[in-house]
Symmetry: C2
Subunit: 690 residues, 2 copies
């Protein structure tokens, strides 16, 4: 075992060539480029020398949204037409190399935003948060206006969803240099290809929806004859036309806006004052009284999307699955997103596959690899997979490992993995610093049990394909990546994210020259995978879970005890449930410590592993958030609460505190009860089995 | 093993004394009599010589409904007062012995029917079905009327729920001699104490609700601080006052009714023509223009109800549970319902407990015994238990065995158990006829696989405590009882059901003199339990499941293919799913046959057993019937369909066919898709594991 892990540390050398191969052409979901990557994955996983035991494709008919290549979306100002915006509104990003010239580069667009031709005076709505529109609405009539917003602070679709109730008829969204280029105005000398910064014409594409999975088939795998809701019933997408634009175009619009100056925290990096809009432009602007018109031709299409699946059969417990996945589809060339992760996955499978084919190794448990399709449109491939195989995966999955963007930049490590692995893996560019040392230096927290340790975030969102595994199936999940030092840059994310500049050239020059960080992630993820697949006892610590629950509880007690008491709701059951959980976890830990597991009966060890494996499952409650597709985990579900605590209670409490309505306080009470019951129920699974 | 089973066959001799003890006083849920049975169960299960490893009580605060002992419910006619009905409306059943004299005999009432004092002209509404009110409404204005209905044909609560939309303001319900006493007029010479027939003053009590579990805490175990919905939000209970009465009182009312004669199939066993009511009485009746008044004083109370739990710890797989349960609460003395079952459970635990205490036997798997509280009010104790321990029970339960009323009468056997056991158990009163032979003689079916075999019904309803186990948790369940020959009597159920005559005297004279049938059930249930707890391989046959699915499919194809096709819904995915299931089941069976399990690794056997144990779990879908509490099993859920087929599809199809609405056809399509997906998902759990 240890020697095999030693092997893993040395052999990841194919990462650059994987990346070159994966990023040759744009491979947006269901395009010819996507099919090319399907074939490539299959070839690799079916390789007789380095492939897996078995690999195949699985297809789903899913609802996607595309611009019309023959009639591109347009943004125009008044009668000036496309030339209205400084230098002309760009339908495509500026070409700096052959990659941007590829005819298959998709025009920047807001997937799932409706087609339409709204025309109205422009206002600047900051990040498109509810509070932003509320502020605008105090002095402006937003009816019939177009809102320009910057990325960040609010979900993509939400910027339009928040706008529509005020009568806003169209939304523009751009990335302010403040948020991506460390505040520089970022002219072409300072940005890619001269640095990692976003060029002025760069546009972040994206899926504008708030639910994940195929939007027409919630809870059902999208097959030929599957029931589909009508498109009119889709919720969580922009109700009004929306278009993302580059910041050079945004600059030309925002700096001409009239009206009062926006609040200071709304100001971005442009060398002008961001005004709210009159609505519309300054009287002194060349745009004068012009209105802004969006011509959006997006259309929905049901398309065939593939997952590529591969397995290594376990030798001792083939019916226990460790799942490792990443998506395959990109918006354009996707060198970082997702190919940095796919390269890592291919290296992990190559190295493990060779050991299997040579008869040198076979894991105790089975390993399933998933190369998901159509993630960019809303985690669709992974969500459909979990719907189709719900029972089997629920019953047997030990953990899900997600490595999407494996390297965001040139510095430290984050994720959700056992500390033991990290001590063995060296940090890139240093033979002496382990990932553990580097991690604890850059991102740590103080644990009541362990003192200062590497910090691990919680997977509370739906940012990548782990969502269906943790939130819908309740499978213990982790998301691993190597990221940059946030004290050195304030970039929201690597600046080429979802643009036509996320290419091999960009990645190999500015994200990870020499692919050493890729290698570190491959070593880390490979080690985590092997440990999960091979350990006699699953490497999960239920007392750490208790620590997280106690941290959530402390916050909940601080924030809610008094307010709940006013409405005769006692928070005691929650306190008591967490206490019971802690005590059950401690007993199980003690029992494990007291056991000589290597000499125990196989069924005794299996029993303990089942307790550990199924712990996250015990937090699922399908009645908790019936309106939120795929969110059933009462501890890690998404929440609007600003502070980390139990999501359902937090959201219900805040809603009730705001509305004061009896029915909202009742919902807060219901959330408290179901949460306490889930925690107690989970505790019961850790207690002595009979 | 076999010798231990031999022991089981001979030793059940304490059945009469158990029954005497359990039926000494009325033990309605949460009364002093109930507490007495709690103490008795605890004493028995904690007995040092014949008890279990451990026994304890678990309490829930549940919403019950009682009449007011100080102000009994009344039914009066016009100004004539209580004397209005022949001989006076009886507040209590006639006393034939000391049992009926017990002051703790609860007045007959309709639990959960609201208090109120409606007064109106009487109509006869047959069984209170929707079609019955529809028929009445064609010639009568039902506004402001009181409807008298007979038991049968429709759920208790539903008779009032169906009535209210027509303006009916109160409902009476009685048991017609046609339905319980084989059509005899049943005067006092012919009925109990002279026979098993219901005396003229006998009244069937009951819970008048359509959902099971505590009505104030759906999906939440009813603890001290648990969130409770407001009483106004309870659904599925009578919206109008309702009262059950004896057939002597019903006779006095119905035979005086005016108006047109009721249809022939509405006519009961009274020696008069059943008229519909004018509304009201015949002009020639002494009642004349009188109205009928109900004075109902029922009130809801939150009461502390106990389950008594006991366990025998498994030796090899303590984390696998075989659960055996019955309720403990009765309406009055409950000799048959539930004490015939509780007597059997106590004998099973005494015999197994002694073997455990003497060190002669310990099961491979753990056995959990549950003596449920408040079943009569809606399966409350068992439902709360499954809510509280949802995760633990879902993960580990092999099967649930329910023995409620163990003996309904003097003839054959029905249930849901392995054929192998039955060959060993002799039928009562015969040393040569096995239960198997007797069963196949009286209740058989032709299986495509096996030819003529004993028939086993499906647990599609919520008639006893198996409901939460099969419908909510998806645990394979069985309900065992010995019942009478339905060719010899047309009684809906044994005639003392839920009356003050369901006493030891009745049971030992008319249901099972000598308790030989009780013994047969104890032997059968004990054998089933031991086989489930001890077999290396779980005694489940997944190909038999395929046979049931194929029978349902054949019916669905016959009834729905054409109608669905008209609405462009293909039934092919369902056909294909059942086919895949059959093939996966056949492969697993073959694999089992090809294995020498006794010499296989323990983990291999555990893996197969997990596949078998979790098969029913794969049919759960919490999105299938979101409005029906606790029904998540897409194969065995209740259905209004007249023919046995997939419940969700059947109900949705019938609704759509009736309404013709697009949204109803969409729901039919959704049901078809989720059903197909569940069957396919279940098939995937039977396939080779990787």
């Amino acid at each position: 075992m240890e020697s095999i892990r030693g092997v893993l540390v040395d052999v990841f050398h194919d990462l650059p060539s994987n990346s070159v191969e994966l990023t040759k052409v744009p491979h947006m979901a269901t395009t010819a480029g996507d099919e090319r990557t399907v074939q490539y994955m299959l070839k690799r996983w079916q390789d007789p020398d380095t492939g897996l035991d078995r690999a195949w494709r699985e297809e789903y008919l899913v609802y996607l949204s595309f611009p019309d290549p023959k009639t591109p979306n347009k943004v125009t100002v008044g009668e000036l037409g496309p030339q209205g915006i400084s230098g002309g509104y760009r339908e495509k990003e500026k070409e700096y190399g052959p990659d941007q010239k590829d005819p298959d580069v998709v025009q920047p667009y807001a997937a799932y935003a409706p087609a339409g031709h709204p025309k109205g005076k422009l206002v600047y709505a900051n990040q498109g948060k509810p509070s932003d529109y509320l502020h605008l609405n105090q002095t402006l009539d937003l009816n019939g206006t177009i809102a320009i917003t910057r990325y960040g602070g609010e979900g993509r679709a939400q910027k339009a969803i928040n706008a529509a109730p005020y009568g806003v008829i169209g939304v523009l969204v751009y990335t302010d240099p403040r948020d991506i280029n460390d505040g520089r105005m970022s002219d072409t000398n300072e940005t890619y290809p001269h640095s990692w910064y976003m060029p002025p014409s760069g546009v972040e594409r994206g899926s504008f929806n708030t639910q994940y999975g195929d939007l027409l088939t919630p809870y059902l795998a999208a097959k030929d004859d599957t029931y589909r809701i009508s498109m009119a019933k889709i919720t969580g997408i922009p109700p009004i036309p929306t278009q993302p634009i580059g910041f050079e175009d945004a600059y030309a619009l925002i700096c001409e806006l009239g009206g009062r100056p926006a609040p200071s925290e709304w100001q971005g990096a442009f060398n002008c004052t961001y005004n709210l809009g009159g609505p519309g432009f300054k009287p002194t602007s060349t745009f004068k009284e012009s209105q802004v018109q969006l011509d959006i031709y997006n259309r929905g299409e049901i398309k065939n999307s593939s997952n590529v699946m591969g397995v290594i059969r376990g030798s001792v417990e083939p019916d226990r699955y460790v799942i490792y996945g990443n998506h395959r589809d990109s918006w354009v060339h996707g060198a970082v997103d997702p190919s940095s992760g796919t390269s890592v996955m291919l290296e992990v499978t190559r190295v493990l596959g060779r050991m299997v084919k040579e008869g040198k190794w076979r894991p105790r448990r089975s390993v399933i690899f998933g190369s998901w399709g159509a993630e960019e449109f809303g985690l669709i491939g992974s969500a459909e997979y979990t719907e189709e195989y719900y029972s089997k995966l629920s019953e047997r999955s030990v953990a899900y490992i997600n490595v999407d963007i494996s390297v965001f930049g040139k510095r430290q490590k984050s994720g959700n993995i056992s500390v033991f692995v990290l001590l063995q893996v060296k940090t890139p560019g240093s033979e002496s610093t382990s990932v553990y040392d580097n991690w604890i230096r850059y991102f740590n927290r103080t644990s009541p049990t362990y003192g200062v340790i590497p910090n691990v975030g919680f997977l509370t969102g739906a940012g990548s394909d782990y969502a269906a595994f943790i939130h819908f199936l309740g499978i213990t999940s982790m998301d691993i990546s190597y990221t940059y030092d946030r004290t050195k840059t304030s970039a929201r994310i690597y600046p080429a994210y979802h643009t036509a500049y996320d290419t091999f050239d960009y990645s190999s020059k500015f994200i990870d020259p020499g692919f050493t960080s890729h290698q570190t992630v491959a070593r880390t993820a490979g080690n985590v995978l092997m440990r999960l697949a091979d350990s006699l006892l699953l490497p999960f610590n239920c007392s750490d879970y208790a620590e997280s629950l106690e941290a959530y509880l402390a916050k909940a007690l601080e924030l809610y005890t008094e307010g709940l008491a006013v409405h005769n709701i006692s928070i005691e059951p929650l306190k008591s449930a967490v206490k019971t959980f802690r005590s059950a976890a401690a007993s199980l830990d003690q029992m494990i410590r007291d056991s000589d597991l290597a000499n125990e009966t196989p069924l005794k060890v299996r029993g303990i592993n089942d307790q550990l494996m199924l712990l996250d499952r015990a937090f699922l409650d399908p009645t908790a958030f019936p309106d939120q597709y795929g969110f059933r985990h009462v501890i890690w579900a998404s929440s609007k609460a600003s502070e980390p605590t139990f999501p359902g209670l937090a959201d219900a409490y805040e809603r009730a505190a705001l509305s004061g309505l009896d029915e909202d306080w009742e919902e807060a009470h219901r959330q408290l009860s179901l949460l306490s019951q889930a925690i107690l129920g989970a505790a019961h699974t850790l207690e002595e089995v009979i």
